[in-house]
Symmetry: C2
Subunit: 343 residues, 2 copies
């Protein structure tokens, strides 16, 4: 059996933490993987030097994961085609707006038996339908694509703090290979087959976190927040089962990608924080994005708008009172108290 | 149809918050309940006066729920037999060590069609078996007994902060009656049939909270805590389904009594707090109970010992690594780091 040839597409904060895991595991499991892992790094200058040169000399992504050494078998490559040439396992960890463009460039350069895994959070929702990023990757590259998501903050993973993550992979054999690629004693992987549920959780949790932040802003206690988290988990599951049917399993919501990630996101995280400030300062979301996120867009409010558009087109907003109430508070000036009154 | 005659057995902090809910609802649903609700209050002197006299004059339990007015139809009664005479609905909200004695006194005084509901947290676990408090009430009084549990902190409920709670009641009709007795716009009740799962959650969550407190003491992040909460939820469910079979439903763990209460208990709460101090101070649990709890016993460590004895007798500790690791850390001097290493 020939060895799996791994490449990582992306090198931000999460991509760098994941490179550390993967580089360690390809060395550890030499029976299964080629040791060398190429990582596509979007080239930029850091103090006048190419970031890829710094990574390959210092074994550290000084821009996005400072202070953490990467294994020396991680090789930064500035050209996406070169990075993925003949790869059999492709790990996608780029911001979602780059997926399509990157995949188009990679077309025809992977090994014939290549498989992918998406670590990209979110999904595209429009009034006409939903599309998972794994589906987008499968469509363009014509290879199967699994998904990984969990209660994972990049910096904590990089510092080897214990956490769990979930891989959703319909093909059981591939799932075992991805397990070996990611699992360590501090980053524990559970493999399930429901890759749709894994991705839905990663996208919809941010809407719930906005709701949780509202209750924090209102000064409500931990009972109230626990109720919002619970209702959110139920609506996430209902959304999955209503629009993806039996593909989405109840068990998925007990996994790290489900309940655990939702709890973390509603305890800390930017969505919760900005929503809290929305209540306490009375400022609009776009002003808070400038003040608190350096102008980056908040994921939870964007997703709330997309979900609402999707549900409205189907006359189903009433079936998802928490999602709909978050939308009404952010976009229709509904009183914040609705977050408990109307759900 | 004759009206339901309600009595409340117990008048501590939670019993008083519940009396407020019940007194409001018996007035609101005059088609279903007699307005007057008798509440058994363990008589004690407050500033030289009987607590029952103060409650009946001031409509406030000045000792256990200061600052909250009770509805005037709540009547404090110092004699337990008088309080429950001809009652058709009995709400048990006493500390668990009093259940048996109180039930023995009540025997023969209830209405023939009486039904009970237990708000008592915990269950009796010994090496020979487990017994729920609802079972104990059913056995002594020979009436059916439902259960209520949820993410409910008494003071927050009394102040009308939004939260949810779960009623487990095998009889659907009785479940609807209990729904009307407890549900308000700020205290939202879901009724399910699984009264066993509802009670198991209330007991076992405290063991998980001890584990969560250990990770706080170790300075681990929110990912780690979310992983402990998730694993704990899985072991709670496994315990229920292994020892109570089909009576315990997966859905129960998505209810307020399940995931939501567990989240709250692992975020705040005394079990988490004492476990954190156990790590940071190095002091034994009994010393911390004196220092932090005025000598009261911590529920989570007691339950951990009972659960471990029960599982040991069945050679099943390895099937519940989180429960077992909490036990080993508290009682066998296992290193605290085991909480992530050994689960």
């Amino acid at each position: 059996m020939s060895l799996e040839k791994v490449c990582i597409i992306g090198s931000g904060n999460w991509g760098s933490a994941v490179a550390k895991l993967i580089g360690t595991n390809t060395q550890r499991h030499g029976d299964l993987f080629e040791s060398t892992v190429r990582q596509w790094v979007f080239e930029e200058k850091v103090n006048g030097e190419n970031l890829t040169d710094i990574i390959n000399r210092e074994h550290e992504n000084v821009k996005y994961l400072q202070g953490i050494k990467l294994p020396e078998n991680i090789v930064a490559v500035p050209d996406v085609v070169e990075s993925c040439k003949d790869a059999t396992l492709v790990v996608f960890v780029v911001p979602h707006q780059f997926v399509r463009g990157v995949c188009e460039k990679m077309k025809g350069h992977l090994a014939p038996n290549a498989r992918a895994i998406s670590l990209i959070k979110g999904l595209e929702i429009t009034s006409s339908g939903t599309r998972l990023f794994s589906e987008e990757i499968e469509r363009i590259l014509n290879i199967p694509c699994a998904a990984l998501s969990g209660a994972n903050i990049a910096d904590e993973v990089a510092k080897e703090k214990f956490c769990e993550s979930t891989i959703g992979c319909p093909n059981i054999q591939d799932g075992q290979i991805f397990h070996r690629l990611f699992d360590t004693n501090y980053f524990r992987i559970n493999v399930i087959q429901d890759h749709v549920g894994v991705q839905l959780c990663g996208a919809l949790k941010n809407v719930v976190a906005v709701g949780a932040g509202f209750t924090d802003g209102l000064g409500y206690g931990s009972n109230t927040k626990a109720a919002i988290i619970r209702r959110g988990l139920m609506e996430m599951r209902k959304f999955g089962q209503m629009f993806f049917g039996d593909m989405v399993q109840t068990e998925t919501f007990f996994e790290s990608c489900g309940a655990a990630d939702l709890i973390t996101t509603c305890s800390g995280g930017r969505n919760r924080k900005v929503a809290e400030a929305f209540v306490t300062t009375g400022k609009p979301i776009d002003v808070l994005e400038k003040e608190l996120l350096n102008g980056q867009k908040l994921q939870g409010t964007l997703t709330a708008a997309e979900v609402n558009e999707f549900l409205s087109a189907r006359k189903m907003v009433a079936e998802f009172p928490l999602f709909h109430t978050v939308y009404r508070i952010v976009y229709e000036n509904a009183p914040v108290e609705c977050i408990v009154r109307d759900i």
